[in-house]
């Protein structure tokens, strides 16, 4: 006889987003008050293959693009009345999914190029993350099954759509242009800190 386990779903569905938001909201405090950033940087540098091969495309297309698309798919039908819902599903929601994917690709390429520079890894890791993002963007697309059992989600294609990789190249290109532009000379205008023991620094 199989024992039936009843899991209270409602408290979990309420508690999980609340705990997640509290966690995210407290991150800036933790970053300021503890050595969270330095140990994170050291950890990422030491275990780079674990985080910069699958990580860029997983975070960009699963965590960011997937979450934003899911929230948009939930909100989108509420913004339209029932009469226009079929039209919206046929024409509007796919366009929205594609633009969310393009925006995620651009931001993901830029953010991971910045992260790799921040951690202090070589340009090889930037290349690996761009290949990971580009191929994932080319083979990933949105899936939509309108009907009585409405369902949506990511879909992996059998052949690539390489045009979807353009936002990735743009994100990396803009990051590199910002870093290697002609006006990157940094002038430090700050005065040196006054020494407590130097009487010449006394200036009432």
């Amino acid at each position: 006889m199989i024992a039936q386990i009843h899991i209270p779903l409602l408290p979990i569905l309420i508690a999980a987003p609340v705990l997640g938001l509290l966690f995210l909201a407290s991150l800036p405090w933790v970053a300021r008050r503890t050595d969270f950033l330095s140990i994170t940087r050291e950890h990422l540098r030491r275990f780079a293959p674990l985080y910069f091969v699958v990580g860029p495309s997983a975070i960009t297309y699963f965590a960011v693009c997937g979450t934003v698309s899911a929230i948009a798919a939930i909100i989108f039908p509420f913004a339209h009345n029932n009469m226009s819902r079929d039209y919206v599903i046929q024409h509007g929601i796919f366009t929205m999914f594609h633009w969310i994917e393009y925006a995620s690709s651009f931001l993901g390429a830029y953010a991971f190029a910045w992260l790799i520079r921040w951690v202090g890894l070589s340009w090889v890791w930037t290349g690996i993350s761009v290949v990971s993002l580009s191929v994932s963007a080319a083979y990933r697309t949105a899936r939509l099954d309108p009907g009585p059992n409405f369902s949506t989600g990511p879909q992996i294609l059998l052949s690539a759509e390489w045009l979807d990789a353009i936002p990735v190249i743009l994100g990396l290109g803009i990051f590199l242009l910002q870093r290697t532009g002609p006006n990157k000379t940094v002038v430090d205008n700050r005065l040196p800190a006054p020494s407590r023991n130097d009487p010449l620094d006394y200036n009432p």
């Binding site: 966690f23 991150l27 933790v30 008050r33 503890t34 050595d35 969270f36 140990i39 994170t40 950890h43 780079a48 293959p49 674990l50 985080y51 910069f52 091969v53 699958v54 990580g55 495309s57 997983a58 975070i59 297309y61 699963f62 965590a63 070589s122 090889v124 890791w125 690996i128 290949v131 990971s132 191929v135 994932s136 083979y139 990933r140 899936r143 989600g153 990511p154 879909q155 992996i156 294609l157 059998l158 052949s159 690539a160």
Partner: protein
Amino acid sequence: MKGFVARFYLVTVLAGVLVTELAWAVLISTGHNNQGSSLVTRLLFPVLFLVGTVNHFRSR
């Protein structure tokens, strides 16, 4: 205490990242919705992981 808080946050964030990576790697290498998968998506992450690991240990 602050060291414990920092490590707790690090472990939590990185555990979330690793679970997301695992789910994405399985999805892209096996395909979805019975469409199957292509050779490129099956070999993408193993090849990149090999290149990255070799480069990582050569540069250390």
